[in-house]
């Protein structure tokens, strides 16, 4: 079966799976942002936590993705529905770039600016929200970009445990030995990753603070 024929005849299915893919990735990334950025901020405030937090996130990342999916299967409530499991696993994977980039972004803010801000009497909260976060925004967003793009790729593997998404087409195409089906899953996923990368990269540039010439 020709690739374009397959697309034309199965547009509904591809749409459904694309939206499913977007949903899983979107929720997972949002959760990772909600957990990872505050954690990154926390370890800039409490240096003793820096090593353990980053080490933990690092270890999670080194677990092969398929293994992590399988490992979480027996968990109560999470393992019952593959969608939940995929979201949790994807979220865990996205934590490291977010924590690390938040940390380096904030640490990378010019020391003179921080000292002046503290000396002027900004509270820690004001320092964080008015100075550190806006100046670190570009680096933090780079972390979001990495998290998002890798999540889109990882979500294709989630289909192996029944979470659906575009990976389902890839696995089915493999079982059917049918390239058109494989591509029908692989190409939209790749396009999605590309779009996310481009969009966020553009945003990063807008947010980067100006440097004196």
């Amino acid at each position: 079966m020709n690739f374009w024929n397959f697309i034309a005849q199965n547009r509904n299915q591809i749409d459904d799976l694309t939206l499913e893919h977007l949903w899983v990735v979107g929720v997972a990334t949002l959760l990772a942002v909600a957990v990872g950025i505050p954690l990154g901020i926390l370890i800039t405030r409490k240096p003793r936590l820096q090593k353990p937090v980053i080490a933990t996130a690092n270890i999670i990342q080194t677990i092969p993705s398929l293994a992590l999916f399988g490992f979480l299967l027996p968990a109560p409530w999470i393992g019952d529905r593959a969608g939940r499991l995929a979201i949790l696993a994807l979220m865990l994977y996205a934590l490291l770039p977010l924590i690390r980039n938040t940390f380096t972004g904030i640490k990378g803010v010019d020391r003179g600016v921080i000292e002046a801000a503290r000396g002027m009497g900004l509270t820690d909260r004001q320092l964080l929200f008015q100075v550190e976060l806006p100046l670190a925004a570009s680096v933090i967003l780079a972390g979001v970009r990495v998290a998002l793009v890798t999540s889109i790729g990882l979500a294709t593997i989630a289909a192996a445990i029944g979470a659906g998404g575009l990976g389902e087409l890839i696995f089915r195409g493999l079982a059917m030995v049918n390239n058109a089906v494989i591509l029908a899953g692989a190409i939209p996923a790749a396009l999605m990753a590309l779009a996310a990368d481009t969009l966020l990269g553009w945003l990063e540039n807008r947010l980067a603070p100006q440097r004196a010439t």
Partner: protein, 334 residues
Amino acid sequence: MIAILRIGFCATDLGRAATPHPGRDPNPEGAPSLSRRSLARQGGVFDLVIILSVILLFTSCTHQPRIVVGCKNFTEQIILGELIAQQIENRTHLAVERRFYLGGTYIAHQSILAGRIDIYPEYTGTALTAVLKQSPASDPKAVYDRVKSEYENHFHLTLGPPLGFNDTFAIEVRGDDARRLHLQTLSQAAAYTPQWRAGFGYEFMERPDGYKGLVAIYGLRFAAPPRIMDLGLLTRALKDRQVDLIAGNMTDGLIPALDLFVLEDDKHYFPPYEAVPVIREQTLAEHPELKEVIDSLAGKISDAEMRQLNYAVDGQKRDVKEVVRNFLISKGLL
């Protein structure tokens, strides 16, 4: 879905607002700050993305009501899936979408729970042990009733009536070995297994109603640990004398064709695996005409008939759609 997308985007917008800029900008000139300008541009981009996703949503929402028929990724399943699909097409006005070749029992189960598929063929024994994780039992009716009630209570899935055949595990040996040694049952074969090598599939090795229980009940010992391979390769391996005993399926089309012999399960170890359609309660409620379709298939396929259908596709390499169509005609169901 749209609402959720909106909320997601609003959250990111709020995140940006939390890195505060306007409101108390003491800028005396009143010129927009760099950050405000980029905020406006980012807003424009997000509007674009929302519009695109809305368009995407609407293109998929304009399709007519359709039933998604799923099945697993081996021949018998494809035949049953096609059977169900064609019956729905023949007897109702509903459009059917086929999502075949799902990668295994777990994936099929997850798919129907998530609503990605509406209906698929399952086996009562598999449902009992692999999905419900209960211990195997041997009475077909008891197994069917238990699976039916559990599926309804836990998963809101309805079981249709059995299609008529029992695709249980078939412990197969070569025909000439069986004749030479006068073997009929597994108990008899137990005497010879220490001289044999066995071959089994991945699922059989792991399932509670598989390898472990079999060797325990019959006291089987083999010359070496069993070779584990893909289902499709097992029959070939048996024929080529790479192994001497395999666990295949009762309805394997190649059993008569390759002169293989199925040993009788005289101790009734294997639970029944009656094929049944599994359908979402919600789908049945929305399309009650499907009940008639499912009932029309009750008891229509015997063990031998299933074997013939399998052989037509596997052995004779005929097209599944055509094979199913002819079968429906021959049964007067069309």
